[in-house]
């Protein structure tokens, strides 16, 4: 090591930190441990994906339920029409029998 390097070493001798440094570090650590950890970008994305999926599932379930209700209503209507039609047919049949009995 030459003279210049010796001078450089003397110039770069370690310096004492301010007395408040260690206290400041410990204080910041105390503060950071009290605060809830901030959401990272990845975690925000994950939660957003879960929320979107939940909304989609809800929308699909609601649509499916609506379709089932509509099918049920249609079936009930058809059943009612069928019963009505059977009753009318029966009435016509009876009316026809009575008319035929009078003619004979």
């Amino acid at each position: 090591m030459n003279e210049f390097e010796r001078e450089l070493r003397a110039a770069l001798a370690p310096e004492d930190p301010p007395e408040t440094l260690a206290g400041g570090i410990l204080q910041r650590i105390g503060e950071s441990s009290r605060k809830p950890a901030p959401l990272s970008g990845q975690r925000v994305f994950r939660w957003a994906a879960v929320a979107v999926m939940a909304c989609l599932m809800l929308a699909l379930s609601a649509d499916l339920w609506r379709r089932r209700q509509a099918d049920k209503a249609r079936e009930q209507l058809l059943q009612a029409v069928r019963i009505t039609s059977e009753k009318i047919e029966y009435a016509f049949h009876k009316a026809a029998e009575i008319t035929e009995g009078r003619n004979q």
Partner: protein, 175 residues
């Protein structure tokens, strides 16, 4: 100087042991930052950030020796990043503000200021070499840089320092 006992206690969750670790290493971290930035407030802030990062990464630290290496590595990385940001923001105009320390001999103060003007990563290499007394192979390990690159960068940085010092001496500053 290294305290494996405090390290083990800290690893096992003893918060008070971290205070001992800070006491033990703060001089090294702060001095590296101070020599590079030539600004005591910024150096203290950077040192705080380094120790906070250490606290967050305590599970990754394997031993007391690894702790010291980790601190040097993270401090060096932050100093290089800091210089890059300042350069990008065009803030590195002229020489950095000198630390007012009237007790220093003239040459020592001048060399400190000149080291702070060196381009990175040469500046950090010079600090690791002459403040921390590390040899080039250790610096290469800390900065993840090939040994030959470290040697040539150190050589260039010293030559640059000499040239700057001689130029200033020619203008009547220094010896």
């Amino acid at each position: 100087m290294e305290s494996p006992e405090a390290f083990e206690r800290w690893r096992n969750g003893d918060g008070s042991a971290f205070a001992e670790i800070v006491q033990e290493h703060q001089r090294m971290v702060y001095s590296m930052a101070c020599h590079a930035l030539q600004n005591r407030a910024l150096a203290a802030e950077l040192a705080q950030d380094v120790f906070l990062e250490l606290h967050r990464n305590r599970r990754k630290i394997e031993s007391a020796g690894h702790l010291k290496l980790w601190l040097r590595k993270v401090t060096a990385r932050r100093l290089i990043d800091c210089a890059r940001k300042r350069r990008e923001a065009n803030e590195l105009a002229g020489e950095p503000a000198a630390i007012p320390d009237p007790g220093d001999p003239l040459l020592r103060g001048l060399l400190q200021r000149l080291v702070a003007t060196l381009p990175e990563p040469g500046r950090t290499m010079v600090i690791l070499r002459y403040q921390e007394d590390l040899d080039p192979s250790e610096i290469a390990g800390i900065l993840d840089t090939p040994l030959l690159t470290v040697k040539s960068t150190l050589h260039r940085s010293i030559a640059l320092l000499r040239a700057k010092l001689e130029a200033m001496a020619g203008k009547g500053v220094g010896r």
